[in-house]
């Protein structure tokens, strides 16, 4: 069965991009489901009346759909990005 060749890099970069995009979408919908649209006490699982906050190291942010979406993009983008850089490095060394 003849199939046209596709460059592996292209497919891997698409995989990376789609993983990061899905993480952003996942975070956004998670924000809606858990904390409600505005990050206020509208979500089904919000405890108390005020907005909820989370933190990663020194960075504190309100738990709302947009921020959680951003968190998904940045965290997954960074983690998988480091892995991808390692793959690029190993490939260049091995195939040189």
């Amino acid at each position: 069965m003849s199939e046209p060749d596709t460059r592996g890099r292209r497919v891997v970069l698409w995989m990376y991009a789609s993983a990061v995009a899905v993480s952003g979408l996942f975070g956004y919908v998670l924000g809606i489901i858990v904390y409600g649209d505005g990050g206020g006490p509208a979500g089904p699982l919000v405890e108390g009346s005020g907005a909820a906050y989370g933190s990663v190291g020194p960075v504190t942010f309100q738990l709302n759909p947009v921020n959680l979406g951003l968190f998904g993009v940045v965290s997954v983008g960074t983690l998988l990005g480091v892995g991808l850089l390692a793959i690029v490095y190993a490939s260049e060394r091995a195939d040189a």
Partner: protein, 577 residues
């Protein structure tokens, strides 16, 4: 009552003897078993047999040919997959709305139990055995499995096993087993339905079957390799099957023992797992000492399939082959040291919990090594996006999501919050369907031309992949949302705020069902009517120097006139085609 039981037992005995006698009269099976040349158990060679496989159904009931048994395993696995799939579709229909609408909680619990056990024991393990049986002897240059008759016995233990496991649905008036696949005590002791006893016996049969199969694979790979197949040149799929068989050898007998203890508790008044006098947590220890290795029993060979198939369509050899083998062995060893991460919330000693958390996190390392090697293989490769390759890529993508969500569960503080929620269900479904299922589909498409001599329909295969990928991500991502939202697993009803995510999951499940229908249709129709392959190398593997022993065997089959039999002599003028 007692006399009717006695009559039934006698009748069953007479029936079994009659079946054995009729089979013996119909066919001299000894004549076409590979051991016939040395006379078999009786020490003499039969004189009046014929050296061909019998025709019709008798062939399939009496075969000891590894390829036939592989196909039997495959058909059996596909039937179980349909049963388990229909069960979960009914459950997902019920979950489309919060209240009880279509099926009651009892039936829901029965379907849930059946879905879990069917997919793991009756679909997953046998489907892997299908690939192992058909292709391991071809890949390592063996004539057959080391013990062909044990191979046949191992398979034929499975159909009665399935009937026993499903007995609650098949016997009128008997309540279904509703213990979930984990069969936690004391619930599984206290529920009175005889369907539970039959399910335990059925599971025992499947365990015996898996153990016999494992012994066979180990013996075959150790002793039956061809002259040109040394350990360094052993293919990656055989390595994973060897490791998996080792795991089965240690895990399944323990499950068998625990099942017998549970049967004794249920029927003979012992107190191994009872609240008064025994310890329900002991069941969890025994069950998960089997149960977690079972996860790797299910995932290692599919990883082997991906490691074998993905390089074929990347135009280059697997990157870091040795490290993929080492990581397989490392996962095999570590898999026996993680079982208590399923029990973080049971109140076990916190020091124990910490050690199990450490090992559970550590097992991510060899898993990541594999992902690293698969993607590095692709990075500088020229990919051909055929159906098997698409499913391999889908495997990698889904395995990353399933693996990363699992790392969080390995951390005690996170697990204490997410334990028994839909998050866990979403996590392991990404692995069992999104990864394991995808790899098995990749295998069916990759070897379809070799098994059938025909090509599958490409358009259906690609539609199968895309619908399966979108469907699985919709379903299982929605489950992760539900888990974060606090939705507990194993319930037929739920609070209204969970409705949207459940509806997304139900829609995704239907996409998966449609994609599976396309697969079944494609396999059946293409087997009958697909275009005949006109070459022994339909994937052009020779171009990149990746023609493995199995394809060389196929080429020989096509070129050499042979009778359609094992043990027969080449017959002039008769072609395999």
């Amino acid at each position: 009552m007692a006399s009717s039981s006695l009559v039934l037992t006698v009748l069953m005995g007479v029936l079994l003897v009659a079946v054995a006698a009729s089979l013996a009269r119909l066919e001299d099976w000894r004549s076409y078993t590979p051991l016939s040349d040395v006379g078999g158990a009786l020490g003499e060679r039969t004189e009046h047999g014929h050296e061909e496989k019998p025709g019709g159904l008798v062939r399939w009931f009496t075969t000891v040919d590894h390829k036939d048994i592989g196909i039997l395993y495959g058909v059996y696995g596909a039937i179980a997959f349909v049963w388990g799939g229909l069960a979960v579709l009914l459950m997902r229909i019920e979950l489309a709305a919060p209240a009880t609408n279509v099926i009651g909680p009892s039936l829901y619990n029965g379907l849930m139990t059946s879905h879990g056990i069917t997919m793991l024991f009756l679909f997953g393990t046998p489907m892997i055995a299908a690939f192992g049986n058909y292709f391991i002897p071809l890949l390592i240059g063996a004539d057959d499995m080391a013990f062909p008759r044990i191979n046949a016995i191992a398979f034929w233990l499975l159909p009665p096993g399935a009937l026993l496991v499903w007995s609650g649905f098949l016997l009128p008036g008997v309540a279904t087993a509703q213990t979930s696949w984990t069969m936690y005590t004391p619930l599984s002791i206290q529920m009175s339905s005889p369907a539970i006893d039959m399910m335990l016996l059925g599971l025992h049969l499947t365990g015996v079957s898996a153990t016999m199969g494992a012994v066979n694979f180990i013996a075959t790979i150790f002793t039956e390799r061809g002259d040109d197949v040394g350990w360094p040149s052993l293919d990656i799929f055989s390595w994973t099957m060897l490791t998996q068989s080792g795991l089965i050898l240690f895990a399944f007998p323990l499950l068998g023992s625990a099942l017998v203890m549970l049967l004794l508790d249920r029927n003979f008044g012992t107190t191994f797992f009872t609240v008064a006098g025994g310890d329900p947590i002991l069941w969890q220890h025994l069950f998960w000492f089997f149960g977690h290795p079972e996860v790797y029993i299910l995932v290692l060979p599919p990883m082997g399939l991906v490691s074998l198939i993905l390089p074929k369509f990347s135009g280059r050899k697997l990157f870091g082959f040795k490290f993929v083998v080492y990581s397989t062995l490392a996962i095999g060893v570590l898999s026996f040291g993680v079982w208590a991460h399923h029990m973080f919330t049971t109140g076990i000693d916190p020091r124990l919990r910490a050690s199990f958390m450490a090992v559970s996190l550590a097992i991510a390392i060899p898993s990541a090594v594999k992902v690293f090697n698969w993607i590095t293989t692709m990075w500088n490769g020229k990919l051909r996006l055929t159906a098997p390759m698409l499913f391999c890529i889908g495997f990698v993508q889904n395995f990353i999501i399933g693996g990363v969500t699992g790392i969080f569960l390995a951390a005690i503080p996170v697990d204490l919050i997410l334990h028994d929620t839909y998050y866990v269900v979403g996590h392991f479904h990404f692995i069992v369907y999104g990864a394991i299922g995808f790899a098995l589909f990749a295998g069916t498409y990759y070897w379809f031309p070799m098994v059938t001599g025909r090509m599958y329909q490409k358009r259906f295969a690609h539609a199968h992949f895309w619908l399966g990928l979108v469907g699985s991500n919709l379903t299982f991502l929605a489950m992760l949302w539900l888990g974060y939202g606090g939705m507990p697993r194993r319930y037929a009803t739920y609070l209204p705020q969970f409705a949207t995510a459940h509806q997304i999951a139900t829609a995704g499940a239907f996409l998966i069902a449609i994609s599976t229908l396309l697969w079944v249709w494609n396999m059946v129709v293409s087997w009958k009517e697909g275009a005949k392959v006109d070459t022994a190398d339909p994937w052009d593997l020779e171009e990149t120097g990746q023609l493995t022993n199995d394809w060389e065997w196929y080429e020989q089959q096509r070129d050499t006139p042979v009778p359609a039999t094992d043990g027969g002599e080449p017959d002039d003028g008769q072609s395999a085609d």
